[in-house]
């Protein structure tokens, strides 16, 4: 989660929200959340699990 937050604080182009899956079960179900952390970019599920910073950046830039 913190990497997403760090990117948002560092770039005006990035917004980052943590969503507590248990409190928003309908949204979690719509996005197929079975494992956490699940990373969703622009409303599209991308991957599950923590990754190192360089890989995180590579993946979000690939999604841009």
């Amino acid at each position: 989660m913190l990497l997403a937050y760090r990117c948002a604080f560092a770039s005006e182009r990035v917004a980052a929200t943590a969503i507590e899956a248990n409190e928003f079960p309908q949204l979690a179900q719509e996005l197929g959340v079975w494992a956490v952390p699940r990373i969703v970019i622009d409303g599209e599920p991308r991957w599950d699990g923590a990754v190192p910073e360089p890989e995180f950046l590579r993946r979000i830039l690939a999604a841009a």
Partner: protein, 142 residues
């Protein structure tokens, strides 16, 4: 009830004392509570206020305020973490129970830094973004 155990609280106080700029927590409690299924009688909005009030007590650089339904909040309760009171697009939607309290503390620490903690290579890569990106990260408290 204290938010953190003694040792943890002392550590967070130490971290918050080192903040390089003020951080505001804007709490959105939402419309009148309709407790989610299984929530029994927990008032999640009131709990969120307690969490943010409790964190703000640990450092002069951390303040909080409450609005019912501010713009830009699709879910409630939620908290926006704002460096110098500025909306940086960083929120936590839902109550940060247990382990996830660390995510909120981590967001406050990052917001309070004068310079980002990302690697210089990462900052250079973010500079290459030519459109806005919305990252949602689903988490659970354990």
């Amino acid at each position: 009830m204290a938010l953190l155990r003694g040792e943890e609280e002392a550590k967070v106080r130490e971290w918050f004392a080192a903040l390089e700029r003020p951080v505001e927590l804007l709490v959105a409690v939402g419309p009148e509570q309709t407790p989610p299924a299984g929530a029994r009688d927990v008032d999640f909005g009131a709990e969120m206020v307690k969490v943010c009030e409790g964190l703000a007590e640990l450092g002069d650089g951390v303040t909080w305020r409450v609005e019912d339904e501010p713009d830009g909040f699709p879910r409630f309760p939620a908290v926006s973490i704002r460096p110098d009171g500025r909306d940086a697009g960083v929120r936590y939607d839902g109550l940060p129970w247990g382990y996830e309290l660390g995510s909120l503390v981590g967001a406050i620490l990052e917001a309070g830094r004068a310079e980002p903690s990302l690697r210089s290579e990462s900052l250079a890569e973010l500079e290459m973004l030519d459109r806005d990106l919305v990252l949602d990260v689903f988490v659970t408290p354990t």
